[in-house]
């Protein structure tokens, strides 16, 4: 068997494993979200379906699968059906560039080289931003095609919010690019080798915080979930979606949560590196998974702690605070790198 | 009496039919013809300066055969912090001028008074039913309205496209 065929087989295995892992993870993350919501509000959360309510998501999936599928008569049916998938697929695509272990080097598996990344190419980091740009379509088209005023307003809100915060997010990411000298995710992780104080969170603290806030807006999560503000917009762009189509949106939201947590861990928290070099005997994927779960927890913590912003506050924060701050962060980073080398 | 009452009685004299002071709650009664004039004075005069209409409500007193309906306006002044109740007595079918031009908040109050008691308001911009259905018949807060039974209106389920 030559190396090309072996790599192809590895690729298929990696892609399949990654998808299964993310889907399973998401099912439990939804359960965690409900459980954490309970804890933060002094309740207990789901307890009865499965041990400590752990299979709560599967009950929801059964229910959503058996619900009636309503497509409004006045809706644009094709676009209405397309929108959930437009939301769903980009979320998965970003997983392809996420390195979850060492890449390159000597053969390490059955005499072949097993890279712990699905697609290792330059400008992998731009893929994150590009897929964020595509995901806007899912939201905007869902809002438009429902032919409902609340949906339309919700879609517009979400779309405008995602586009605005993508700018700040992009500039924040460029700081990491400048530090690593590359847009390749693998090289970014390799640039952070060492103990946890060598990771990029320390030099890119401002950029990291901007990225975190912007990613909250990208994910349409509280405190930036104005798109589905129940008081004003019923359920925003999801108003007319029922059953599993709505479930797909929900699912895509949580896949995005996992992916963005993975990106934050990779860009600012050393990816698959252990916090101390002495702990390197524990494999990289374990560390990445731990970091992803910690980031997911922080996202949930923010969601159930901070209340919703008003729309003008959201926009002025994005354009007047985060964007100038991210540009300043980029300028300072570039100057320091140019001087220090 | 307070300076407030002095100012009003000085301006209107005998046209104030009755004044009352129950533990500091000042009340004046006027004729329906003087209704708009008195309220305009209350809003604009330097000594009264009632910049807010707290509420405006109707009442039905069937034992008062000559004028069974009453209209009551509660005024508040944010400048002086004082309050005043202005009353008028009306007969069946008698209309008074609307005070929406003085306080826009009177709009809903007058609609409700019309809907519940049948008190008319001339010059009201939008005198339609507020709380009951559009095709409701009768004035439900009148004392002769039946207490029991679904009378006056019915459930409309043929409102597809309207709600």
């Amino acid at each position: 068997m030559n190396d090309a065929i072996a790599q192809l087989i590895f690729l298929i295995i990696k892609a399949a494993l990654m998808s299964i892992l993310v889907v399973t993870l998401v099912a439990f993350i939804i359960y965690f979200e409900r459980k954490f919501a309970g804890f933060f509000q002094g309740r207990v959360g789901p307890t009865y379906l499965g041990p400590a309510g752990a299979f709560q998501s599967f009950g929801d999936i059964f229910k959503l699968l058996s619900k009636e599928d309503i497509i409004p008569a006045e809706a644009d049916k094709r676009v209405f059906k397309l929108a959930p998938y437009v939301m769903f697929i980009p979320a998965f695509l970003v997983m392809a560039v996420l390195p979850f272990g060492p890449v390159g080097g000597t053969p390490n598996l059955f005499g072949y080289r097993f890279d712990y990344v699905i697609a290792n190419f330059d400008s992998g980091l731009v893929l994150l931003l590009a897929m964020g740009g595509i995901a806007v379509y899912g939201v905007v088209l869902a809002g438009w095609s429902s032919n409902n005023k609340f949906s339309l307003l919700g879609g517009l809100r979400a779309g405008a919010q995602m586009i605005s915060y993508e700018l700040a997010m992009g500039f924040a990411v460029v700081g990491v690019m400048v530090m690593a000298g590359s847009m390749n995710m693998v090289k970014i992780v390799e640039g952070q080798s060492g103990n946890f104080w060598d990771w990029y969170w320390a030099p890119q603290l401002v950029g990291g915080i901007i990225f975190f806030i912007a990613s909250l807006a990208e994910l349409n999560r509280t405190p930036f979930d104005l798109a589905e503000a129940e008081q004003e917009l019923v359920a925003g762009y999801l108003t007319e979606y029922s059953g599993m189509r709505w479930g797909l949106f929900m699912f895509a939201e949580y896949v995005n949560l996992v992916v963005v947590s993975g990106i934050v861990s990779t860009l600012y928290f050393g990816g698959w590196h252990a916090p101390f070099t002495v702990l390197d005997f524990i494999p990289g994927p374990v560390w990445l998974l731990i970091k992803i779960m910690i980031m997911v927890f922080i996202y949930m913590w923010v969601r159930w702690t901070i209340f919703r912003y008003r729309y003008n506050q959201l926009m002025s924060m994005g354009w007047k605070v985060l964007l100038p701050l991210s540009i300043a962060n980029l300028a300072v980073t570039a100057i320091v790198i140019a001087i220090v080398g | 009496m307070s300076a407030l009452m002095d100012a009003i009685t000085a301006a209107f004299g005998a046209r104030i039919l009755e004044t009352g002071d129950f533990r500091g709650d000042l009340t004046i009664s006027v004729a329906p013809e003087a209704w708009l004039e008195v309220l305009t004075f209350c809003r604009d005069n330097e000594a009264t300066k009632f910049d807010m209409l707290d509420c405006l409500l109707g009442d039905h007193l069937p034992e008062r055969a000559a004028a069974p309906f009453a209209l009551v306006a509660q005024l508040v002044s944010h400048t002086y912090g004082h309050r005043l109740r202005v009353k008028t007595a009306l007969t069946e079918g008698q209309a008074v001028p609307s005070v929406t031009s003085l306080w826009p908040s009177a709009n809903f109050d007058e609609r409700e008074a019309w809907e519940m008691y049948g008190i008319g308001f001339t010059g009201h911009p939008n005198l339609i039913r507020l709380l009951t259905t559009e095709d409701f018949e009768g004035f439900p807060m009148r004392k002769d309205f039946p207490l029991e039974g679904t009378v006056g209106g019915r459930v409309r389920t043929d409102l597809r496209g309207k709600i």
Partner: protein, 250 residues
């Protein structure tokens, strides 16, 4: 009261949900939660001829097995699994009409916590809800909205009438209140009380979960909304005799 009867005849009457069978909450004690008391033991109920929802009721009363579009019945095992899943994920519509809604909120809060059975996800959009808790009195002006919201919920759906007002209009037999929400939409479970305590609502939701598990609906064998039937009867009557009979005057 003669007047009242004419009015009831004029399009606002109690509908007959099960074709001559017992109607209303009082005649369906097996669907009723006793306020603040525990339910009578199962033996008592079977002895008194009352059965649990889902137990030995006549087949013609219920809708029978769920059918696929081609007329093929869904295997009962699949239905069981689906029902089990559904019963742990009953999402009510975020919809309160009056003071009972406060008790409903208390049930969602930390003391009673309906999220233990996965019910905390109250959806604001009827498209994503599984049922309604009609919490409080429903005015005649609100009634069309309630019917519309009910219609917008995708099948399968369940309705719980909470509080005396939603069940019968309570003491307000007046010009403005719908005398029982079951004259508009089919109701699965009645929870009396003014307002019911959260425990009572909780027991009502437990009974509802039982019905969800067994895929029984109040609209089984009905499949049409009573309010719409009333409307159809009205239009038919109006067409039959052109001059409108019995105008209601106050």
């Amino acid at each position: 009261m003669g007047m009242r009867e004419t009015i009831l005849g004029d399009g606002f009457y109690r509908y007959d949900p099960e074709g001559g069978r017992p109607r209303g909450a009082a005649d369906r004690p097996h669907l009723m939660v006793r306020d603040g008391l525990l339910q009578p033991a199962l033996e008592e109920r079977t002895a008194s001829g009352i059965c649990l929802p889902g137990e030995s009721l006549d087949d013609d009363e219920m809708g029978g097995p769920v059918q696929f579009p081609g007329g093929i019945a869904m295997p009962v095992q699949i239905e069981r699994v689906l029902g089990f899943g559904r019963s742990f994920s009953f999402w009510p519509l975020l919809f309160g009409l009056a003071c009972c809604a406060i008790e409903m909120m208390a049930l969602g809060g930390s003391r009673f916590d309906m999220s233990r059975f996965g019910m905390e996800a109250m959806r604001a959009s009827p498209r994503q809800a599984d049922g309604m808790i009609v919490a409080g009195w429903c005015s005649i002006k609100m009634a069309p909205r309630v019917v519309r919201l009910y219609e917008q919920i995708p099948d399968p759906k369940w309705v719980l009438a909470m509080g005396s007002c939603a069940i019968s209009g309570n003491v307000w037999d007046t010009y403005n209140i719908v005398q029982g929400i079951d004259s508009l939409i089919p109701v699965d479970v009645y929870v009396p009380g003014c307002p019911p305590r959260p425990e009572a609502l909780w027991q009502g939701l437990e009974m509802l979960r039982e019905r969800v598990k067994q895929s029984r609906h109040a609209y089984d064998g009905l499949r049409r909304i009573p309010a719409r039937d009333v409307l159809a009867a009205q239009t038919a009557a109006a067409e039959a005799c052109a001059p409108a009979a019995g105008e209601v005057k106050a």
